[in-house]
């Protein structure tokens, strides 16, 4: 009978280079979420507005007399605005449990006891939400641009509005980054994903309700900076070279948005730790 050596042996496998572990977390998270039917349904449903817009472009190209349907740069801005509802739901469903569930299962210490930094952990979790949100914002918007080119059989529209490519990328990126980072920060604050979900909904919708009330009382939109979505709208208008819809200076809206991103990073830095000191 052979007797195997059970003593310590050095690891002879390949070592992953430092800084690449986030991809493992991201990929595992994406695969786990794609296995849920509700996520798939949500993602498919989020492409319905794309289909509607594609039909609109088809009609405008083939029936020139319907000038009302002809796409403009504003069409793409409106499309991204429409997708906000799906961004909201996907953020809550996909993002609420990303860190909260790990905290609940005390898995954070386990993660961080591996050769994995806190930044890599956060980057991995962020990448999961980022990927899903880009799938419902940037990808359909860019595809719509492609559809316009294919249906019209010319690149004239795209050439005339070349700024749309960076504008869509920038606004979708900002929208997705804001949603992802704030959700991750909230997720790191609790162990209950339901609580996190409602907290996120509260922050987004309550700030908007405050703005609406102040707007009704003052008769102007100078208080738009208190609303998370209004700030994004204001910055988005500037990115798409459109006049701002609110009285708040767009720079103030940009500063508030960046402040929110900064605050989320600070919260993540403080909350994502291997050891929690309880006093």
């Amino acid at each position: 009978m052979p007797i195997h050596d059970q003593s310590y042996r050095h690891y002879r496998g390949n070592r992953a280079r430092p800084g690449a572990a986030w991809a493992v977390i991201a990929w595992a998270g994406i695969r786990a979420l794609l296995a849920r039917r509700l996520v798939l349904a949500l993602l498919v449903f989020a492409w319905v507005p794309f289909l509607v817009r594609a039909v609109q472009i088809y009609l405008s190209v083939n029936f020139g007399e319907i000038a009302l349907l002809a796409p403009t740069a504003e069409t793409f801005r409106e499309f991204l605005e429409q997708q906000r509802l799906f961004v909201f739901f996907v953020t809550i469903y996909v993002g609420a449990g990303l860190i909260a569930n790990d905290r609940r299962a005390n898995a954070l210490a386990l993660y961080l006891s591996k050769p994995l930094g806190r930044t890599e952990y956060v980057a991995g979790k962020l990448a999961i939400l980022f990927a899903f949100l880009l799938f419902v914002t940037w990808l359909p918007a860019m595809s719509l641009l492609g559809v316009q080119m294919v249906f019209s059989g010319s690149a004239e529209f795209v050439a005339r509005n070349l700024f749309l490519i960076p504008a869509i990328t920038l606004l979708a990126g900002l929208q997705v980054l804001l949603a992802s980072l704030t959700m991750l920060a909230l997720s790191s604050l609790s162990t209950s994903s339901r609580y996190v979900g409602i907290l996120y909904a509260g922050v987004v919708l309550f700030s908007d309700a405050m703005f609406q009330a102040l707007r009704a009382a003052s008769g102007g939109s100078m208080a738009a900076w208190v609303s998370v979505t209004a700030n994004l709208d204001q910055v988005g208008d500037v990115i798409f070279r459109l006049p701002g819809r609110y009285d708040t200076p767009w720079l103030l809206s940009a500063v508030v948005t960046l402040g929110l991103l900064g605050l989320s990073i600070v919260v993540l830095e403080r909350r994502v730790r291997a050891v929690e000191v309880v006093t």
Partner: protein, 272 residues
């Protein structure tokens, strides 16, 4: 074995303390404290007669602002959100914390557990939301020609409307929480996806929402003046008061019965 209502009263007793003194109260304080802060800002702005607080150079009266705040903050936001938050958590929290076993092994009917928790939710949210509305009333209504006495009947209607909203939304989401595995998303889709969409669509679809019937009661609470008529124009096809009350009562009764039935029949599997 104690009767259904005696069991519900015991659970109510335990749950009320838990609900009032939990971290969740922070969320509720934010949701109900924010409007009070806004009311304070508005009151200060009115006192200083800031030009920004004039609509087309016209003075907006205190009661008008109060009506708008009740609509924007409470009926459209706070009431549905608290309904989803607490309603879905009534059973889901116990399942998540794996404490439902302890409740179900007590000598009381399973449905009484839900009923007790639902009553605790009503008391807890009522204790926080209604005083917040009262504070806003005292802050905003007396300014710019408004009178506390004249607006009092309107305040009573507003308070009753909010209590009704909390009861109906809470019952519906208690059922959602008792029946579905992931109730939060369903709840949010219902209040922020389904309801705003169907209320704006002509036809019968809006009758499958709670907001439609609450809207039918709102014009009685909001003061009738220029700004409000604009709002009223949006709410075309509003049902009559009697019809709204009847359907809200039906929705409430059906939702409570279904929730109790769901809890009594469902086998909850706890995550390992």
């Amino acid at each position: 074995m104690p009767s259904f209502w005696a069991g519900a009263a015991r659970v109510f007793d335990v749950s009320l303390g838990e609900m009032l003194w939990s971290r969740r109260t922070v969320f509720m304080a934010l949701v109900t404290g924010g409007p009070v802060l806004v009311a304070f800002v508005v009151r200060v702005a009115f006192a200083l007669d800031l030009p920004a607080f004039r609509v087309n150079d016209l003075v907006v009266s205190g009661p008008t602002i109060f009506g708008l705040m009740v609509w924007v903050f409470f009926l459209r936001f706070t009431v549905p959100v608290l309904g989803v938050f607490y309603g879905t958590a009534l059973m889901a929290d116990e399942v998540e914390d794996r404490t439902i076993t302890y409740l179900f092994t007590r000598p009381i009917r399973r449905g009484a557990v839900l009923m007790g928790k639902y009553l605790a939710y009503l008391a807890c949210t009522g204790f926080v939301v209604l005083p917040s509305v009262m504070l806003i009333y005292f802050l905003v209504v007396p300014s710019r020609g408004g009178s506390l006495a004249a607006g009092f009947p309107s305040l009573l209607i507003d308070l009753a409307l909010l209590a009704l909203g909390l009861a109906v939304y809470g019952a519906v989401f208690a059922f959602v929480g008792a029946w579905f595995r992931r109730p939060l998303l369903m709840g949010l889709v219902f209040i922020f996806g389904w309801e705003p969409a169907v209320v704006a669509v002509p036809g019968y679809l809006k009758q499958f929402s709670i907001a439609h019937y609450l809207q039918g009661l709102v014009p009685h609470a909001i003061p009738q003046d220029g700004v409000v008529s604009l709002l009223a124009a949006v709410f075309r096809e509003v049902p009559s008061t009697a019809s709204s009350l009847f359907w809200l009562a039906v929705i409430w009764a059906v939702a409570v019965l279904l929730a109790v039935r769901a809890v009594e029949r469902r086998e909850y599997v706890l995550d390992q």
